[in-house]
């Protein structure tokens, strides 16, 4: 009996110790982030920033820049595309068809839903037009609807390419069109089973011959079984004409945005790494995507750091894994990337903008902003610089969550915000 009591006390102590916060911790950025030892308390950390309306407030941008909401009341805007005539296409939707597999999934989905919009995804593309160039987008019209959680967008060869959550399609697009002339033509099916990570990111090669599609994993770390991970966590190279594909790079857990680097023509991606290894693991990253490379998921992270949760292990794949180029920090949830241009101003001309949706599983939330990663000689160099902040206020309330970022050649950054269902436009003051 005494033994039982002792055991009970011990269990209680164990339970309580798991409730301790992790205290302050730092976020490592850059090419060689310091990686702490993996940790996971008995209870996972979940911290959802409470949503609130913007009211009179706006995100903060650097001095000399102005931010304006150019479209509101959208139906979950995710990624944007600037068309040759300056019109903006906005992909709106929400995908994913995964079932709850464990009691945890039921609880986690309820908690996470508190940090997202209650609006139903539009499954459509909205076109925004500023005909007179005064910065007010007076036309807001549906370009195409009845899509299936559209996300990645690209333009080339007189077509608008759209990556739905289960297929890659194209619309004929004569310049100046405001409404698609008909339903899209399917180029190829995309892996759409379960869709734990449903977003299919998209980029087009400079010659328009190939489309690159980012396909996220179907789990955090294989907990839904390896069967559903076939053709997941990778970037496909798809022939725009035939729809034939090959795996261009693998082991990228969730490549949420792809862009071609101007000048070099290289493919770059931002990717979201795995959870439940602690507040400072594993860094989400910005990287050039090398043809044929393996980036570790699920067997290892940031090179050869083995993740024992993926079983059976695969030492051969671990040995093959390469490190990404640049750490953005763990759990920032990078969902958008675009390369800058001279028109953005001298300070922000050389580099890439990254939209960070923000963390949900970290005691001190990170992300909830758009950062600028400076480049020199075609490679990231230096710490990320805040570009648009205040999406999560100092009052702990969240007013917006950045997703896609797109540089308008006219000298503006377009930011899609899927919490307040707004498209923001940041311009330099004249």
């Amino acid at each position: 009996m005494r033994h039982s009591s002792a055991l009970t006390a011990l269990s209680m102590a164990f339970l309580l110790s798991a409730c301790n916060g992790e205290g302050d911790s730092t976020q490592a950025h850059g090419p060689d982030p310091k990686l702490p030892t993996p940790e996971r308390g008995l209870l996972p950390t979940m911290k959802i920033a409470e949503p609130a309306a913007w009211g009179d407030q706006k995100p903060s941008v650097p001095e000399g820049y102005t931010i304006t909401a150019i479209a509101t009341d959208l139906k979950i805007p995710r990624q944007t595309l600037i068309l040759p005539n300056g019109d903006i296409l906005v992909a709106e939707g929400k995908g994913g068809t995964e079932a709850a597999l464990k009691p945890k999934d039921v609880i986690a989905s309820l908690v996470k839903a508190r940090g997202t919009t209650p609006v139903k995804g539009g499954n459509r593309l909205t076109l925004l037009r500023d005909a007179d160039g005064d910065g007010t987008y007076e036309v807001k019209t549906v370009f195409a609807d009845n899509l299936n959680a559209p996300y990645g967008l690209a333009y080339g060869n007189g077509h608008v390419y759209v990556a739905n959550q289960d297929s890659l399609v194209r619309f004929d697009y004569p310049d100046g069109q405001t409404k698609a002339s008909g339903p899209p033509t399917k180029i190829t099916d995309l892996p759409g089973q379960v869709n734990h990570h449903w977003t299919k990111s998209l980029a087009i090669s400079p010659d328009g011959r190939f489309l690159y599609v980012g396909i996220g994993s179907n789990s955090n770390i294989t907990e839904r079984g390896m069967e559903v991970e076939i053709d997941r966590a990778r970037v496909w190279e798809v022939d725009a004409q035939t729809g034939a594909h090959r795996a261009y790079a693998t082991g990228l857990r969730n490549p949420t945005a792809l862009r071609i680097q101007p000048g070099t023509g290289k493919l770059w991606a931002v990717a979201n790494e795995r959870d439940e290894l602690g507040p400072d693991l594993v860094p989400d990253y910005l990287t050039s995507v090398k043809d044929g490379a393996f980036y570790g998921w699920p067997y290892s992270y940031w090179g050869q750091n083995v993740d024992p949760r993926a079983q059976p292990q695969n030492p051969a794949k671990v040995a093959e894994a390469i490190k990404p180029d640049y750490s953005l920090g763990s759990h920032v949830a990078a969902l958008g990337v675009d390369f800058s241009q001279a028109s953005m101003g001298e300070k922000f001309a050389q580099g890439a903008f990254v939209g960070e949706h923000g963390s949900w599983n970290r005691e001190n939330p990170v992300g909830y902003k758009v950062v600028f990663v400076p480049f020199s000689n075609g490679q990231p160099s230096g710490e990320p610089v805040d570009f648009a902040t205040g999406f999560r206020g100092t009052d702990g309330k969240t007013r917006g969550r950045p997703v896609g970022v797109t540089v308008d050649p006219k000298g503006a950054l377009i930011i899609a915000d899927d919490l307040s269902n707004t498209v923001w436009r940041v311009t330099r003051n004249k």
Binding site: M1, S4, S5, L7, T8, S11, M12, F14, L15, A18, R40, L42, L43, P44, L101, K102, P103, K104, S219, N220, I221, T222, E223, R224, G225, D275, E276, P308, R309, A310, Q311, P312
Partner: protein, 142 residues
């Protein structure tokens, strides 16, 4: 026997109490067997089964714990079996709770702690059930 009939309370659990108590055995046992299957095959579906069986086991065990508490309060004398029965269920329930949190981890992170806790909890549930169904009182007829 005549003395027993005069007791103000029964010495074995009523139908609801008994059902809940006995129900913990297949639930904890099922979780254990599922954990063993996952440990041997790496097929994560077994881990999902274990997590749900554990959730059911915790529900049954938790409700039984309430019956055991009431029994303990009403018992005279408050020593021996009623105490042991209550504490056994309490330990089983707490281990099961910790195990549920373990099973909320992703993929192989459940192992080995999840399996170890199941190995401990399943026999405890069996012993508690055997104790409870045999006699809830110490000293028999008094």
């Amino acid at each position: 026997m005549t003395a027993t009939a005069r007791l103000p309370y029964p010495t074995t659990p009523g139908p609801l109490h008994a059902t809940l108590l006995a129900g913990t055995v297949p639930l904890f046992l099922g979780a254990l067997i599922s954990d063993i299957a996952y440990f041997q095959t790496y097929q994560s579906q077994w881990s999902n089964f274990a997590a749900w069986l554990l959730a059911g086991a915790e529900l049954f065990c938790g409700l039984t714990l309430l019956f055991a508490l009431v029994n303990l309060v009403r018992a005279q004398p408050k020593r021996g079996r009623p105490v042991l029965y209550f504490l056994l269920l309490l330990v089983t329930w707490i281990l099961g709770l910790i195990n549920s949190f373990e099973h909320a981890k992703d993929a192989w992170a459940v192992m080995p702690a999840g399996l170890v806790l199941s190995v401990i909890a399943a026999p405890l549930a069996c012993i508690a059930t055997w104790l409870g169904l045999t006699n809830l009182r110490t000293g028999g007829a008094q």
